[in-house]
């Protein structure tokens, strides 16, 4: 993760608002602050990607408090979500969402919390680690069907005559 001091690029209030925005936009009760903090740092690190980023993002984040009537970070979940729905089409929000949807779910801490185990090859794959441990359904057939029913490739109504009746 980039080591960026948020205070040097946007105000501490705007930084607090950004972390709050991320949690409201991508709410997971199981997630601690870490993934959201790291995602905020990544967004801020991209401020200088272009002048337009800097202008749009800074203005968008710095004005969240104004849109909230004073204190965005102090809004409850429903009120904050309602506000975000109003600004959902704003370019700065689309940028934040685009970075966040990659960063939050590429964070190894969130993988564990979601029940995903990550890289497997060096662990010998899952052949001895539960690839088939689902026990709430019976074990199904794995070979192809060999019963009496014949596969019908073309329904009777869709058959065409040997003289080529379907070619109109």
């Amino acid at each position: 993760m980039p080591d960026t001091s948020p205070a040097s690029t946007i105000s501490p209030r705007a930084h607090t608002a950004l972390v709050r925005l991320l949690r409201v936009a991508f709410p997971h009760s199981r997630f601690p602050d870490g993934p959201y903090e790291r995602t905020a740092a990544e967004i801020i690190a991209q401020l200088d990607a272009s002048l337009w980023h800097r202008l749009a993002l800074t203005q968008g984040l710095e004005s969240l408090d104004a849109a909230a009537g004073g204190d965005f970070a102090g809004l409850d979940d429903d009120a904050a979500l309602a506000l975000l729905r109003e600004i959902g089409d704003a370019e700065f929000f689309a940028f934040v969402r685009g970075v966040a949807v990659v960063s939050i779910y590429n964070d190894h801490e969130t993988w564990g919390l979601l029940g995903y185990e990550g890289s497997s090859y060096e662990e010998g794959g899952y052949v001895d680690r539960g690839f088939d441990d689902l026990d709430w359904l019976p074990n199904p057939r794995i070979d192809e069907y060999d019963g009496p029913e014949k596969f019908v490739e073309v329904a009777a109504d869709n058959e065409v005559s040997a003289s080529g009746g379907g070619d109109r």
Partner: protein
């Protein structure tokens, strides 16, 4: 993009140096089509130069990590998507998810290997005058291709074929197959699938390590990077040139191909003499190269007297369904797509559409599920999908889409690539038949999962295309298509197209097996031509 060197680009692993002046068979691309052609020709003693735009990634380079692997191997050169389809809005610079590396897209293919059905070679005849569909019968039939399907299945090592055993049921398949059985489907199995269930052909059996879309570090999955390319090099007849971007195919005064111009990794232009060119750059780069090869004899692009180069672009009718359950699934453990239901892969217009489709198991990690489950979405409805990750089962719908003349690959002169060449634009719009098929698939998938207790399902729109077909289609008559029954350009002697762009129509099946079968057949034809001196 990173320009990290992932493997040696010269020396014994890439074969003997062949002179640029020697008139050889030049193969452009090293994926399912190009890699197969190179092996089949060099095994017969025919000298080949293989130009591959990407680096030589080896299994030890592959990464069990979705985004880093994507950035390592995906084709990320400038491209645009246009038209009303949703990919153009959500992924405007990523119309397709393909691989730029030795082995091409076989590096990250999942592995399903169904054959095309007989009627799928004759869709004009069977589907009739479906409005807006530029249908044409293939100039070959299933019977023509059947012996080559056998050979392709042997090369790939498809399970369930030629005495090879099935892969075992993984967790995602258990949900999928039990649901299929409950709704009355019969024709389901864990294959045919191009990954070894037990050791075969010098490669090990699966260790159920997942990551099918990132390159198989265990090499149990077939790809031309682990089979055809190393074997071609071992013949001593193949000069593999990674990081070599073909930029033009040229012809002599009589119109026969005579060379390929290409850029090395430093941007230096080279000319490789050719007696035959096999173009296998996938269905976006192949027509792009033909369009960039316009000459006074071919003012609208090489081999384009029909006007069909780049047209009839097909991407399969797709969609995914992710279902939530009360108990754990762990869908990511094991071979991602080793589960196929074929019951809907048939022609029965009483369902409201022509053509058929398969269901195949599909698993993504949280990183890709977040990116692709519902592009652009956020909020509690979105995070609910991820929160259920551990208890989620997934499947993919893949079916035949209709060729349309206006769905096409063109040059975008407003957007240059990193070399200053016009980037390709991919324009696509669903045909109403595609929409009807997708909706049918979604509704049947819901039934499959509800039958085994799903508490909710999510319908995911088509991803950037992994199956790209049809832009240099095969036709009996030169005015209807770009190449003949052997894949040779109607207009240009010595020019063959050797990838999925030759497909006249796309069928329901995943295309890799058919691309390999067509390439084996084409190599035999080229070998006979060269042998007889014609």
């Amino acid at each position: 993009m990173s320009s990290t060197q992932h493997g040696p680009t010269t020396g014994p692993t890439t074969g003997p140096a062949i002179s640029n002046e020697e008139e050889v068979v030049v193969v452009i691309g090293s994926g399912a089509g190009g890699g197969t052609i190179a092996y089949e020709l060099t095994a017969r003693g025919i000298r080949c130069v293989v130009l591959e735009a990407g680096p030589y990634l080896k299994p030890e380079d592959y990464l069990n990590d979705e985004w880093p692997a994507f950035n390592q191997m995906a084709w990320l050169d400038n491209r645009t998507a246009s038209g009303p389809y949703r990919v153009a809005r959500d992924f405007p610079n990523l119309p397709a998810w393909l691989v730029k590396a030795v082995g091409g897209t076989t590096t990250h293919w999942a592995g399903a290997t169904p054959r095309f059905r007989d009627y799928e070679f004759r869709t004009r005849r069977y589907y009739g005058g479906l409005e807006g569909a530029n249908l044409l019968d293939w100039p070959i039939t299933l019977a023509d291709l059947a012996p080559y399907y056998d050979r392709a299945e042997m090369a790939i090592g498809s399970t369930h074929r030629h005495g090879r055993p099935a892969l075992p049921a993984n967790n995602n398949y258990k949900v999928f197959a039990n649901g299929a059985e409950k709704v009355g489907y019969k024709f389901y199995a864990t294959g045919p699938y191009g990954t070894n269930a037990e050791p075969y052909d010098g490669r090990p059996g699966s260790i159920q390590d997942g990551f099918n879309f990132q390159g198989d570090k265990n090499t149990s999955k077939w790809s031309t990077a682990v089979r055809e390319i190393p074997r071609a090099i071992a013949t001593g007849k193949c000069d593999l040139r990674p990081e070599s971007q073909a930029v033009q195919i040229t012809h002599d005064a009589r119109g026969r191909v005579n060379a390929v111009l290409y850029l090395d990794k430093d941007g230096n232009l080279h000319r490789q003499s050719a007696k035959i060119v096999c173009l296998a750059g996938n269905s976006i780069e192949s027509p792009r190269l033909l369009l960039m090869s316009a000459s006074s004899l071919h003012p609208n692009g090489l081999a384009n007297s029909s006007g069909q180069v780049g047209r009839n672009y097909m991407r399969h009718t797709t969609g995914s369904v992710y279902a939530r359950f009360e108990q754990p699934v762990h869908m990511y453990r094991g071979e991602s797509m080793a589960g196929i239901i074929a019951d809907e892969a048939r022609l029965d217009s009483s369902r409201g559409f022509m053509g058929g489709y398969y269901f195949e198991t599909l698993a993504l990690g949280p990183a890709f599920l977040a990116a692709f489950a519902e592009p652009g979405a956020w909020g509690p409805e979105f995070t609910e999908i991820l929160d259920a990750y551990e208890n989620t089962a997934g499947l993919w719908i893949v079916g035949e889409d209709m060729p349309q003349e206006t769905n096409r690959v063109t040059l975008n002169p407003a957007l240059p690539d990193q070399w200053g060449l016009p980037a390709p634009d991919v324009h696509f719009e669903d045909h109403p038949n595609d929409v009807a098929m997708r909706e049918h698939g979604f509704s049947r998938a819901d039934m499959i999962y509800q039958a085994v207790g799903a508490t909710g399902t999510h319908h995911t729109p088509p991803y950037p295309a992994t199956h790209n077909l049809g832009t240099c289609r095969m036709s009996e008559r030169p005015e209807d298509g770009v190449v003949d029954r052997w894949g040779q350009a109607h207009d240009v002697p010595g020019l063959f197209v050797s990838d999925g762009s030759v497909m006249t129509t796309g069928a329901a099946a995943n295309p890799t097996l058919t691309i390999v079968a067509l390439a084996i057949r084409q190599a035999e034809h080229i070998s006979e031509q060269l042998g007889s001196g014609s």
